[in-house]
Symmetry: C2
Subunit: 135 residues, 2 copies
């Protein structure tokens, strides 16, 4: 059975189960920062998914873009890195010209900035509505 | 007609024209660092490609993975960032635990380290052979 990496679990909140991936919110309120974790055992590289699964993943990446466009970002950054946490996970991050690390990529740059319980609850309401709108 | 961004042109070498993308080599010999630039006018976000085109792109991302596996990397990093150069381009980079910036992402971290003419020619021979093998 698929098991989420403990580091990812600690750093993110569950938003929804999509057909392929667990859609999660990074616990950092500096930026709208979502993550897709394909629920398939043992995936590290993109190519550990079948080509068919990767095409399903790109559909989910599209869905996340549609959700993030609601934040009116200047750019959306997508990354599958995994040098520290090897379980395959895809970051999809809304970026703004005024954000604290623009134009650098966010990874390893954005300082910890966790949501309060109320902020997280509010963000989840917004994200669930966006998901419903675009799914 | 599609025109490659001048900054990308200055930083990379053309390897091959794939059905969707211009496959290019980053002019930095620190790492095997390839780039896919979809040859469609006006693309900035992934979603500026149709879903069908994105599925073609993921096939090309797979091809590049197969080529880079020949370098026996510890991880492959994939990123579509575009905060500085907006023309849609996808980095696919072979990473090694002994590389100078591991485990940080490469963007903005790897110092300039251009190929000599001979080194570039040699690398191109290898890449063309890998492309032929996996295409």
């Amino acid at each position: 059975m698929f098991k989420l990496d403990p580091q990812i679990k600690a750093d993110t909140f569950h938003i929804a189960d999509l057909p392929l991936s667990d859609l999660r919110l990074m616990n950092n309120k500096t930026l709208p920062w979502l993550m897709l974790v394909p629920k398939k055992i043992g995936c590290i590289e993109l190519t550990d998914l079948t080509l068919e699964e990767q095409k399903n993943l790109i559909e989910e990446v599209n869905l996340v873009h549609q959700m993030l466009f609601d934040y009116q970002p200047d750019k959306i950054n997508v990354g599958a890195i995994g040098n520290i946490v090897s379980q395959l996970h895809i970051h999809v991050v809304a970026r703004f010209k005024e954000d604290p690390v623009w134009p650098a990529p966010v990874w390893g740059k954005v300082e910890a900035n966790p949501y309060s319980d109320q902020e997280c609850a509010d963000e989840m309401v917004r994200l669930q509505a966006l998901l419903k709108k675009h799914q």
